[in-house]
Every structure is written in structure tokens, then in C-alpha cells.
Amino acid sequence: MKKECIAMLLAGGQGSRLYVLTSDVAKPAVPFGGKYRIIDFPLSNCTNAGIDTVGVLTQYKPLELNSYIGSGQPWDLDRLDGGVHILPPYMQEGEKGSWYKGTANAIYQNIGFVDMYDPEYVVILSGDHIYKMDYSKMVEAHKAAGAACTISVMEVPWDEASRFGIMAVDGNDNIVEFQEKPKQPKSNLASMGIYVFTWQKLREYLISDENDPASSNDFGKNIIPNMLNAGEVMFAYRFDGYWKDVGTLESLWDANMDMLSRGDLDLLESSWPIYARLPLKPPAFIGAGALVEHSVVTQGCDVQGTVKNSVLSHSVVIEEGAEVLYSVLMPGVTVKKGASVRYAILGENVQVEAGAKIGESPENYDPDKWGITVLGPGASIAADQVVTPKTMLNRELKEVSR
């Protein structure tokens, strides 16, 4: 059945800058904010915006992500016509076929999928961002501007503009120039990597880009500049809500702390709900000797110790006398009696035995040597062991450098 608009969600990247957190899973499957996983944000945004057909392009270690998404039912994307579809790379006749070579190539290889729905517009999303956005408004703006491509942009501080893809615009917010990480930015409107394309136009550019052997087959590096240079109408859609790329350990930790402050990203505010798939767990229990402040707890948690400024995912156990400060604990983490966890990210099912000391607060440490401590999923830290700030350990407890 023809759809006016479908979404294609790029979830194939390795998320290499999350190191041990993505050693077993793709980045969009990484837990966030207690109850969620990163991919819940773009998926829920689609559902709430009325987009009922979403292709999720997976590639790197997709098993957990694929099982998590399943038929799409938690996001109301289990539909008779449309719904969520996992799109991995695939073989063709003559044993031809390749891994996705770039973001544009991933869409190119799935032209057949998009054509099935014959949409007017395609929304290109990435599975790396934490934000609430009504894509239908962006599509409306795209139509009103008569654009071939609409790019969602955010104002960034001028002194940071050189870190982003910058869009210089005219008085109608039409894009006149695109600068990738410019030393002299002509505007402070940064691209958020969220695009709306008129499908027939994008389709042509994808095909000609694929036929260009010199291309990196990337939206930001190739498709967008090509369209701009060919004189296509490109519109900058301004977004001023909370948006964060959680591609690095620091930004992941920051975004979790932002969520705690319930400012622009208030997940408890239910007019634009974020959906998730969760295992069946009883409600959290907070013990008689517990102290929980400025923190988030989720189903299945059992807290008997101290938790401050931290995010606890489901099934986290904090024993009596244990202390967790300014940390992000993913599902199934256990922190035993007298252990302390400070300014750390603990991956799924990490076990911290009694008396161990993970990380430290920056005020108690040499600022040149301080950083967030990260323990990869499944790591088990022995009793009384000390893991110094900025250390990152994998499941085998080997140190991983950044």
C-alpha cells in the first residue's frame, strides 16, 4: 500500500567510540535513561508522529538489536501494512552483494524496500541520538518549502561550530552553503543528521552516487553536497528542543545526567511518550537503610545502599553499605556491600564484589588523570579491587585504551 512518508533508520554502525559498551551489541541497543535503549527515541518519535513504516538498517552485531525490536509491537509498529522492518545487507544473484559501504549506500541497497511503499517523502534517521521530535512537522516544513531535501539543524555556540557540519542559509532558511567542520564557520546552524527527502529526487542521486567510484557513499559527504551543487532546493528546519549525539562515552554519560535534571529532556513528561520493550520485573524496592537522591530507579531494582545523581536500569541490585555516585548502571548490575562506584558507566550484568572501588569523584583526584571509568558488559570486579578513574575494562578485565 502506498504511504505518504516512511522512515529509514540507520542503525548499522559499530559505535566504536563507545568501545566496550558496543563490543557485543550495536550502538542503538545500548541502554539509556534507566528504562530505555538509544533506539527507543527515533522509533517512538516515528510512532508519535504518525509514521507507521520504518526500515531499520542493521549491520554490526545486530543480534540483540534485532531481538529487541522483534515485530515492533512495543512501539506500536507491528502493523498489517507497514510496521518496522529490519534490513540487513543481503546477497544478490551471482554471489554479488556487499556490506553497507556508507550511509547513502545503505539506503541505495534498499531502494527496493522503499519502492514497495512508493512514498512521496523519506525521513532518514540515525540510531545514535537522544531527542524527542515530531517528524511530521519537519515533513510539513519540507513540503511548504518545496524542497528536495530538508535538513534538521540546531543552533550551536559559535565557538563550537567548527565541530559540526554547518549550514549557511538565506533569509528563507534555504541552504546556500554546506561546510563540514569549518575553521571559519559562516553560520552556527549545525546539521543534526536528520533528513527529509523527496523520494524521487533522492532515488536519482543515490543511483548516480553509487555509480561514482570515488564517492564514499555518505549522506553528509556526498549526497547533500551533490544536491546542493546541482541547485536543488534545500531547506534548513530549525529544531530547538533537547538533542544529543551519544556516540562517545562522555556524551552518553552527560546525556544520562541531563535526563536526571529533567530540564529539556523530561522523560516523565508523558505527552510524547518514549516506548520500550522490557522484561517482566516486579516494582523497585528501596530498603530501610537506603539513601536515594537525584536518581532514577527502574523495575526490578533492589536498593539497600546509597545512590546519588545516578541512573539505574532494570534489575540493578545495590547492597547495604554500597555507594553509587554520578554513575550510569545498565541492566542487571550488582554492587555489593561496601563497594563504591563513582563517576562510572557499568555495562549490563557487571558484578562489583564487596569493598571494590570503581572510579572516583573529580574533586578527589588529579584533574589531569581523571576521567569516567567504564566497565564493559559482563565484567566481574573482585572484592576490594580498585579500578582507577578513566580506566576502561572489558569482560575479561583487560584494559582497553581509547
Partner: protein
């Protein structure tokens, strides 16, 4: 898939639950922070591999319908079978479970399995029914009746069994004064589909409607009725005080572990709440807190259901606050049970006692 079909009775009964069962059936009463009472027996059935469950409805079953829906949250929304909601077949009064079963006789005939497990919707339990079923088959009994040796605090309308040394039920009592040496029925029965149909037909032809009277008591000699003794957690809640005590008992780790057995999780209708947030001024001790709550005040020894907010300066102690309660600034609540969507305004003070907790009805603004 095993040979068992589940039937849950959600019938009107004399209830001391007052406001809690005003406009809802006992099986719909919220319990343990995020469940309805029916979730426990329904989950026990699903966890035992039962794929088909019929819920016999009577009375004000609107809420139960809304809660159960298609059965998807219990994995019972299936192509064949799954959850079937059975509203009353006729306007006639249903005087007992036999009459209720007679009212759904066509459904009973259509049961694909060889055996049926009957249970009440408001028994709070987490029992491995597959084990009860295996023992039933091995024992060769006609009916297996699940019962408990723990007769303290039994409901007034309880059924009691006397078991012989082989576990066979030799006598069935009701309204017993001295329960020593007896077992209390938990009203879970396993029998074959054929026997169920035969008993229903026979009883109806004689205008008998009580499962207890016409079957358990009358046929103790002609039928082999075996007791399956379950001495772990089981709650049949009939009064507000019991509701309160049984809820508070959940603060105890051992009890929680029995009710929320890791291998037999309790399913319930999913809501999309975010994780619960506890403010720097918030204080939370010895409490069960569901998702979606915002705690800026003080909560002690209480159960907060999904979506409850406790504003700054408020003091909530020994309370049970059901879904979406909003407790205003500086309000003080001790020994209070609030039903869904109750709003307690700023600085209000509500004090009940542990012998008589104060119940605030659904939707009230106090």
C-alpha cells in the same frame, strides 16, 4: 503446550473490600505496586505452559475487560485459543461456580485439552501449576484440590478439607470453628474435561449450584479427591485490613521472593512509564516503588503504584498509593490507601491507623 486448560472465575462475592471493589471486581483490585489480583493466577497458568484460559465474568467486569484486553501481555493473544473472556450468558442469577460453568457449557465443550484447572480471580499466588498437574495425573485422582496447612487469617467463607495419610480428601467443611488438623482450600481444582462436563450436567439437572456443596462435600466418597498441599505464599484477601496487611508484608524480602519468583514472573498490562525519579529533597525508605513516579517528598514503608507523584514537603508513611495518585505539597498521609487517580491537596492531613487504614475512593480529590 500441555493438557491443561485454565478457567478463572471472576464472580461477585461478598466483599469487605469496600471502596476498593466499588465499580470493580475483586480480580481487578490493584496489588503490589503494578498488578491486578487476577495477574497472579493468570501468570501461574501461563508460566505452567497453559495456552488457553477462559475468564468467567459476572458483575461489573468493565475494568477487568480493559485490563485483560486481548491477553497479549500474558502471551495469550493467539491464533487458536489463548484468552477468552466469557461474559454472563443469561440474566439469571449465578448462585455458584457450577451455575457459572453451566452458563458457558458450549465453551467447555470446545476445550481442546484433556484437563481443566479451575481457580478464583482474586487468589494471590505464584504456584507451579505444571507440578500440580503432574501430581494429579500420577495420583490417579478424579479431582486435585490445592490447599494449605496455614489456616490463620482464613476468610469467613473458606472451605476446609480433612486429608487422610495418603492426601485424600475425606471430608469437606465450611464455616469451621476449630480448624486444627485441617487444610484450607485455595480453590484451585484440577479435573478432566469430561468429569467437569458430567458434574456440571448432573448438578444442573438437580438444581445444585455449589461446587463445594454438590461436588466436594456430596461426592467425597464417590470421587477420589486429592489434596495438593501448598504452604508457600497464598493470599485470599476479603477485607481492607487484610489487603493492607498482605500488602505491607511484601516489604519482607522472603515474601517478595516467593511472590515474584525469578523463574515464574508475574505478567501484567504494560504502561509506558519512564523510570521513577527521586529528587534531592526526596526521601524513600523501606518502600516498593513502581515506574513513572516522581518523589520530591518523604515516602516510608509504603507502596507506590505507577505514575504516583509526591510533592515537596509531603510525608507518606505506611500508605498504599495506587496508580497516578498525586500527593500535594506538605500533605501528611499515614495509614492511607488511595485508589486510582486520587488527588490529595496541599497541606491536607489524613491519618488512619494500622488496625483501620483510611481508604480513599477512585478519582477523589481530597
Amino acid at each position: 503446550m500441555n493438557g491443561l486448560h485454565g478457567i478463572i472465575f471472576s464472580l461477585e462475592k461478598l466483599s469487605g473490600l469496600r471502596e476498593l471493589t466499588d465499580r470493580r471486581m475483586p480480580g481487578s483490585v490493584p496489588f503490589a505496586g503494578r498488578y491486578r489480583m487476577i495477574d497472579f493466577i493468570l501468570s501461574s497458568m501461563v508460566n505452567a505452559g497453559i495456552a488457553d484460559v477462559g475468564v468467567v465474568l459476572q458483575g461489573n467486569y468493565q475494568g477487568l475487560l480493559g485490563h485483560l484486553g486481548s491477553g497479549r501481555d500474558w502471551d495469550l493473544s493467539r491464533k487458536h485459543g489463548g484468552l477468552k473472556l466469557l461474559p454472563p450468558f443469561s440474566q439469571k442469577e449465578i448462585r455458584g461456580r457450577i451455575e457459572a460453568l453451566a452458563g458457558v457449557r458450549t465453551y467447555l465443550e470446545g476445550i481442546r485439552q484433556s484437563h481443566v484447572v479451575l481457580a478464583d480471580s482474586d487468589l494471590i499466588i505464584n504456584i507451579p501449576l505444571d507440578d500440580v498437574y503432574q501430581r494429579h495425573l500420577a495420583s490417579g485422582a478424579d479431582i486435585t484440590a490445592v490447599c494449605t496447612g496455614n489456616t490463620d487469617g482464613s476468610p469467613e467463607d473458606a472451605t476446609y478439607f480433612k486429608l487422610d495419610k495418603d492426601g485424600r480428601v475425606t471430608q469437606t467443611f465450611t464455616a469451621l470453628r476449630n480448624t486444627e488438623g485441617c487444610h484450607r482450600a485455595l480453590e484451585i481444582y484440577i479435573l478432566s474435561k469430561q468429569l467437569l462436563l458430567d458434574l456440571v450436567d448432573e448438578c444442573i439437572s438437580l438444581d445444585h449450584y455449589s461446587l463445594r456443596g454438590a461436588v466436594l462435600q456430596a461426592k467425597a466418597d464417590t470421587l477420589r479427591i486429592h489434596g495438593y498441599v501448598w504452604d508457600s505464599y497464598a493470599a485470599q484477601i476479603r477485607t481492607v485490613k487484610e489487603y493492607y496487611d498482605r500488602s505491607m508484608e511484601l516489604m519482607n524480602y522472603a515474601i517478595r521472593r516467593e511472590v515474584f519468583h525469578p523463574q515464574r514472573p508475574i505478567h501484567t498490562k504494560e504502561r509506558n512509564d519512564a523510570s521513577t525519579y527521586i529528587d534531592p529533597d526526596g526521601n524513600c525508605l523501606n518502600s516498593i516503588i513502581a515506574d513513572g513516579c516522581t518523589i520530591e517528598g518523604s515516602v516510608e514503608n509504603s507502596i507506590l503504584f505507577r505514575g504516583v507523584s509526591v510533592a515537596r514537603g509531603a510525608q507518606v508513611k505506611n500508605c498504599i498509593l495506587m496508580q497516578d495518585a498525586a500527593v500535594g505539597r506538605d500533605a501528611v498521609l499515614h495509614y492511607v490507601v488511595t485508589d486510582k487517580n486520587v488527588e490529595i491537596l496541599e497541606s491536607r492531613t489524613l491519618i488512619g491507623s494500622d488496625g483501620y487504614p483510611m481508604v480513599i475512593a477512585k478519582g477523589s480529590k481530597v
